[in-house]
Amino acid sequence: MTIDHAPASAGAVLSPGDRAELELRHRKIREAMAEQGLDVVLAYGPAWRRENIRYFTDVTPAGSAALVVFPAEGEAVAFSTRPSDLAAFTAQGWVDRARRLDPANPAGLGVVLEELAPRRIGIAHHELVPLVLMETIRSAAPGAEVVSATTLLDTARLVKSEWELARMRRSAVVCAAGWEAFVDVLEPGLPEYRIVAEVEARLKNLGAEDNFMLIASGRDEVRGMTPPGDRLLEAGDLVRTELTPKMDGYWLQICRSAVVGKADDGQRKSFDLFNEAVEAGISVVRPGITAHEVAVAENDVFRKYGYGEYCTSQYTRVRGHGHGLHLDETPIIEGNHTVLPENSVFIIHPNTYTPLAGYHVLGDPVRVTADGCEVLITTERKLFETGDVA
């Protein structure tokens, strides 16, 4: 036997807040669809990019691939490769119908598209749709123009509602707890991967659904962060992490570095440099600022002290990035002129290598307010040393 569709919905009743959020999203998407002449938006979500599936369903599916077919008129249909996701979709109540997605034989998707007979389809994460699914889409909608709707969804998700901000504030609390767990466990002789194990255990106990976390330990030879290895911590190491728990679908990041024992002069100077850069970034945030302008404010601090070369792609990637249902939304980088409106959320992190103390990470997530920004986490911005009271 196979499980290919969700049982009939028991008629999930949405709270007024959930209902308002759902209607807000449908309105935003349908307005954008009308502007772009789209009959259907198809959101595709492989296991590592499920933000748009969550946006339409308020469910993060466990399956390896998921889809939502969202027509300009009518009800959305959710698909997942995993049977247990189907009831989860309908039980949450944001979609009424859910069906099994079989990538090797995606006929069920074809049937739904054939019924809609669209003339123009926008696919969110068009760039990730596998050949087998793309060919099904094209054969089920012959003659339809198929375009990318990735930017459409990214734009819709950029400004957060109060409903979303409430969830992100819960993520902020877990961020702080995760960092405390990180510092608590540091001691000479501990391998890097055991640090991650302890932090993950703490985050998951607090209800985090997932976590994005990079780490590096050592001194000024460290050039970047990666998954953990079996290196053993030594006294005097600077241990750096980007820690990004996801609660209720929403990611939020904290960037901090801690010294095993007491910091040396280079590590203190490095912290001072990075802290000034974070403060410079925060100081320029206001509605309408661009990602480019925030990055320039951060990088100008490095340039002022003669470290400008370390703001280039040879040493670093971005000076921050947006947060939300995806952890790495619009990049905060020179040359990105995306406007950051009120209630957009992003982290300011001038993380990079310098000769002062090697790769250093420091950053806080902020929300753009009417006249500036709100820092969303409460963790002190300082150079942590083991033995400190956090």
């Binding site: 036997m1 196979t2 499980i3 969700a6 049982p7 028991a10 492989p46 296991a47 590592w48 466990a62 399956g63 390896s64 691939a65 490769t81 995993r82 049977p83 247990s84 189907l86 009831a87 309908t90 039980a91 990538p103 090797a104 034989n105 068009h126 760039e127 990730l128 749709v129 596998p130 050949l131 087998v132 793309m134 060919e135 391998p191 991967y193 055991r194 991650v196 194990a197 302890e198 993950e200 255990a201 998951k204 106990n205 607090l206 209800g207 976590n211 994005f212 976390m213 050039r223 970047g224 990666t226 998954p227 953990p228 290895g229 079996d230 792609s313 040879q314 040493y315 990637r317 290598y353």
Partner: protein, 348 residues
């Protein structure tokens, strides 16, 4: 993202085995008339690349280029500073970085005699990437290939089998500790995160399912080095329909032997599953460990497929009830000509 221990240990996997994995693929390429093969991977489905190189695509995407002879090259959007870490923790010596894969492939092929460019497991390549590569390499015939690397991975080597046994031991102990009486949703995940990542797992996916009569099943799929193991257990004393699921799983596992068909597992479990409450729908599945990162969901379920001696994978029984509740039981076994070797579970 993958955020557990990533190591390259010659004591676990000798250099000769790494070389032979690539050489075997190159022989398959020759048999298919392919001059250069490309393997695509992303963070959620990167095991083919890891199998050939020990590269850890911990985030985002990558493409491995394999020539007919000689060393492989990793094509990546990541910066040089991360490439240095990749060089230190993998068998890859050649890297090429840039903004998109089509340009990287074109650059890689520059100066080579045109021929056949094969996309391994082509059906699962992003259509855009495949199309852009085709447009970027005029003169080359771009050919869609089946899962050539996956085919190599279906029966693990002796070294891989030892690692799967180690993984099974760690997972089994962790799952037992996580599902003790009085455990909570938070404590279960906390326990397996600490035990598995602390035990050297690279990646893990815990998953809880519940039914309307209050039964929870707790499953974990985890990656240890380049192999995967899975278990799922119903909490509590296993009375009633939960006992039926366990019985069905035991019957399915007992039918798991070399030469048996995948369909035989479901047939063995059928009598037990027939006693499930009305309206319940059950699936019995075999997922080779080579496919566990995606739960086997990208592969056709073929009841006629024949199990091979030495193959390792998860036998699972999943049920959805008429009211939408779900439950699952599963264990990982290694196929032999007789009784399967239990890598996880009470009989391990």
């Amino acid at each position: 993202m993958k955020r557990g221990l990533h190591v390259l240990d010659p004591a676990e996997t000798p250099d000769r085995e790494w070389q032979e994995r690539v050489a075997t693929l190159q022989r398959a390429m020759a048999a298919h008339g392919v001059d250069v093969a490309l393997v695509y991977g992303d963070v959620s489905r990167s095991d083919d690349i890891a199998y050939l190189t020990n590269l850890c695509i911990y985030w985002n995407e990558g493409v491995l280029a394999i020539p007919a002879e000689g060393p492989v090259t990793f094509l990546t959007k990541l910066s040089l500073r991360v490439q240095n870490w990749m060089k230190a923790s993998s068998k890859v010596t050649e890297f090429s970085g840039g903004r998109n894969f089509a340009d990287l492939v074109a650059k890689y092929l520059l100066g080579r005699k045109t021929g056949v460019l094969g996309l391994v497991d082509a059906a699962l390549w992003p259509a855009d990437v495949a199309g852009e590569i085709g447009a970027a390499v005029p003169g080359w015939e771009v050919r869609r290939l089946a899962g050539l690397v996956r085919a190599q991975r279906l029966v693990p080597s002796a070294a891989e089998t030892e690692l799967l046994r180690a993984a099974g031991r760690i997972l089994d102990h962790a799952a037992a500790a996580a599902t003790v009486e009085g455990s909570t949703a938070g404590s279960r995940v906390e326990t397996v995160e600490r035990a598995l990542r602390g035990g050297g797992f690279l990646d893990l996916y815990p998953n809880s399912l519940t039914t309307s009569d209050g039964v929870t099943s707790f499953g974990v799929t985890g990656q240890f080095r380049t192999g995967w193991v899975h278990t799922s257990r119903v909490l509590g004393d296993g009375d009633g329909w939960a006992g039926t699921l366990n019985e069905a799983l035991a019957q399915a596992i007992s039918a798991t032997k070399a030469g048996a068909t995948v369909g035989a597992l479901a047939e063995a479990a059928a009598a037990a599953l027939a006693t499930l409450p009305g309206g319940a729908t059950a699936e019995v599945r075999w997922v080779n460990q080579a496919d566990l990162s995606t739960g086997g969901e990208f592969r056709t379920h073929d009841p006629a497929a024949v199990l091979a001696d030495g193959e390792a994978g998860a036998v699972s029984v999943e049920v959805v009830f008429a009211d939408g509740g779900n439950a699952a039981v599963a264990e990982t076994v290694r196929v032999t000509e007789g009784e399967p070797e239990h890598l996880t579970g009470a009989q391990r």
